[in-house]
């Protein structure tokens, strides 16, 4: 299983802060996880700025995801 977290406007769009998913496939990448999230929630997140993290580090959408990872999706940050 992988734990997927959502923050800020993405969390609001999905109406959910966290999901557990099984790894979509061997050798899955972050984009695959996002597609699985969209399939499960029925919410389309494409077409907007979206950042991703794996195990609390920023990654590209093409980054690999392994079983047990924590994946997060969120909009561009606005701290500071």
């Amino acid at each position: 299983m992988i734990e997927v977290k959502f923050f800020a406007s993405i969390r609001e769009q999905l109406g959910c802060a966290q999901l557990c998913l099984s790894l979509p496939r061997d050798g899955a990448c972050v984009a695959d996880v996002l597609q699985a999230v969209e399939a499960q929630t029925g919410v389309h997140l494409g077409g907007q700025h979206l950042l991703a993290a794996v195990n609390m580090a920023h990654v590209a959408m093409t980054a690999p995801v392994s079983d047990g990872d924590e994946v997060a999706f969120f909009p561009p940050v606005t701290g500071g």
Binding site: F7, H49, L50, L51, F74, P76, V77, G79, G80
Partner: protein
């Protein structure tokens, strides 16, 4: 290096006084940036600001950029404090303080830290108005060019929504 992510307000001077002295012996001075919630005299409908964050990743990112600053600039040490939760006008949001032997490095590293913090630390602001909340959007990715982890989603981008609240 010291990183604090907290809901509580802080006293800049007290934080500086309490900073471990061992690492900053030999400092000729410090440079601090303190960011505050703007006074919305021109946008009277904004009652307050609320800051959401990603607990765990926030601290990790702030520690990562602190280490990066230390690797790239001739500084002695640094302190980052960032608040989350609900903040009123003029309240402090963030403090970045850098100690160095010479002031040029302190200025450069302090500026580096706040610039990078704003594009990498997982904090999100929203404005609280009488009729609800709206997310502040800033799009540092668009502003700064492509950055790892910045994407317009897996589907083709159909345009960005930007609010009027840019910092």
């Amino acid at each position: 290096m010291l990183v604090k992510v907290q809901a509580a307000d802080f006293d800049s001077q007290a934080e500086i006084n309490a900073f471990p002295q061992e690492g900053i012996r030999g400092a000729g001075g410090l440079v601090s940036f303190v960011g505050t919630v703007r006074d919305y005299s021109d946008a009277a409908d904004i009652l307050a600001m609320e800051i959401e964050h990603y607990p765990g990743m926030t601290e990790r990112e702030l520690e990562r950029i602190s280490a990066e600053a230390r690797a790239h600039y001739d500084i002695l040490d640094s302190l980052i404090i960032h608040r989350f939760g609900r903040l009123g006008p003029n309240e402090r949001i963030v403090q970045v303080t850098v100690w160095a032997r010479h002031r040029a490095a302190a200025f450069d590293a302090c500026r580096f830290l706040i610039d990078v913090l704003k594009t990498s630390a997982p904090f999100w602001k929203r404005e609280i108005t009488p009729t609800g909340m709206r997310w502040v959007t800033d799009c540092p990715g668009c502003r700064a060019g492509t950055r790892e982890g910045h994407s317009h989603g897996v589907a083709p981008a159909v345009g960005h929504q930007h609010s009027s609240m840019h910092k």
